[in-house]
């Protein structure tokens, strides 16, 4: 085997290996937790514990992906991007997480606004009305903005492909879209975390 073949073999194996290791680690962690820990206690006592956990998890993953996307978007804006294929993939993943976060946010919202005395909305309206009327309402609308922005960025990156790199205003557009999506994500994530800290669903 030549040195070149050796290097190629390592590279080809690396992606599959990485995905495999990640899946095994996630499965191990989830399996170990479910088998040994009181998982319901981990989720919390509220009726919306499960959607809250999934919504929070997806939003956190989106924040993680969005941060990397913001950096790659900046590299795209300045014309110094090297990992264009990674940016294409990341844009799709970000749009997917945005969609999932919105779906699970909808589910959680049912518990948030439940017409009972101890629901978070009832609590806020009674004790801290500005938390619901300003911060939560801005969060719930701002969060929706991430989806069209992320989908639009992914669409341009895939539809135009390498031409995105050759046409400055397409690069600027995608970078702006990713930057705006990140802005609304951070607004929604930050306010969502704060609201949850004040009164979990």
């Amino acid at each position: 085997m030549t040195a070149l073949e050796d290097v190629r073999e390592i590279r080809e194996a690396s992606t599959t290996s990485l995905v495999g290791v990640i899946l095994i680690m996630i499965a191990s962690a989830v399996g170990f937790t479910l088998l040994t820990a009181p998982f319901d206690k981990l989720l919390g006592p509220g009726g919306g514990a499960l959607p809250a956990a999934i919504h929070g998890l997806v939003a956190f993953l989106y924040l993680f992906v969005g941060t990397i996307g913001l950096y790659l978007g900046w590299r795209l804006l300045t014309g110094h991007i090297r990992a264009f294929a990674d940016l294409q993939l990341l844009a799709v993943v970000a749009a997917t997480f945005s969609f999932l976060a919105i779906c699970f946010g909808n589910w959680l919202y049912i518990y948030y606004r439940a017409p009972v005395a101890d629901s978070p909305r009832s609590y806020f309206v009674k004790n801290m009305p500005e938390v619901h009327k300003i911060f939560f309402e801005f969060k719930e609308f701002g969060a929706l903005f991430t989806l069209p922005l992320a989908v639009c960025a992914a669409f341009i990156l895939w539809r135009y492909g390498v031409q995105t790199l050759e046409r400055p205003w397409l690069r600027y557009s995608v970078a702006v879209l990713m930057g705006l999506a990140f802005f609304y994500l951070v607004v929604a994530f930050g306010l969502g975390a704060a609201v949850t800290k004040l009164r979990p669903a």
């Binding site: 090297r82 909808n106 049912i110 309402e137 719930e140 609308f141 639009c152 341009i156």
Partner: protein, 138 residues
């Protein structure tokens, strides 16, 4: 290790090198259509929310729109209808604009500015003190 055992590997390519696209130039209208549709979706959400704040009857109608198809819409409330109308505005306008603009090589720069103005307007309209004021609750 003696010098004779060192294997000199070829330099690894650690950056992606992109050759210029050999495909035909894709018209800018396709990107413009996607940008404008995203803006329309965001503005639809913002404007619908202002009118639901102003009119209880419209608010009820919007809620019924959500209940028409969205699981759990009864519990989600009028927000389900606002999401629905924003989705229809976004995807509907995208389909229309895509087919209307796909062969036109529009300048993306001009439309990006329009897009930014629209997004700024939508953001202003979803700020609660603003839509409460416009809805007559200020």
């Amino acid at each position: 290790m003696s010098p004779s055992t060192i294997v000199v590997k070829p330099e690894e390519k650690n950056v992606e090198v992109w050759a210029p696209s050999v495909r035909e130039r894709i018209p800018g209208g396709i990107a413009v259509g996607a940008l404008m549709a995203a803006m329309v979706g965001m503005l639809t959400l913002a404007v619908v929310n202002v009118f639901t704040t102003a009119s209880p009857a419209f608010n009820t109608w919007v809620h019924n729109v959500g209940k028409f198809w969205m699981p759990g819409a009864q519990g989600i409330g009028p927000y389900s209808g606002k999401e629905t109308l924003a989705l229809v505005g976004w995807l509907g306008s995208w389909v229309i604009m895509h087919f209307a603009l796909r062969k036109r090589d529009l300048k993306v720069s001009r439309w990006l500015i329009v897009f930014l103005v629209g997004v700024g307007l939508a953001t202003t309209l979803i700020w609660p003190p603003v839509f409460e004021y416009l809805g007559g609750h200020g």
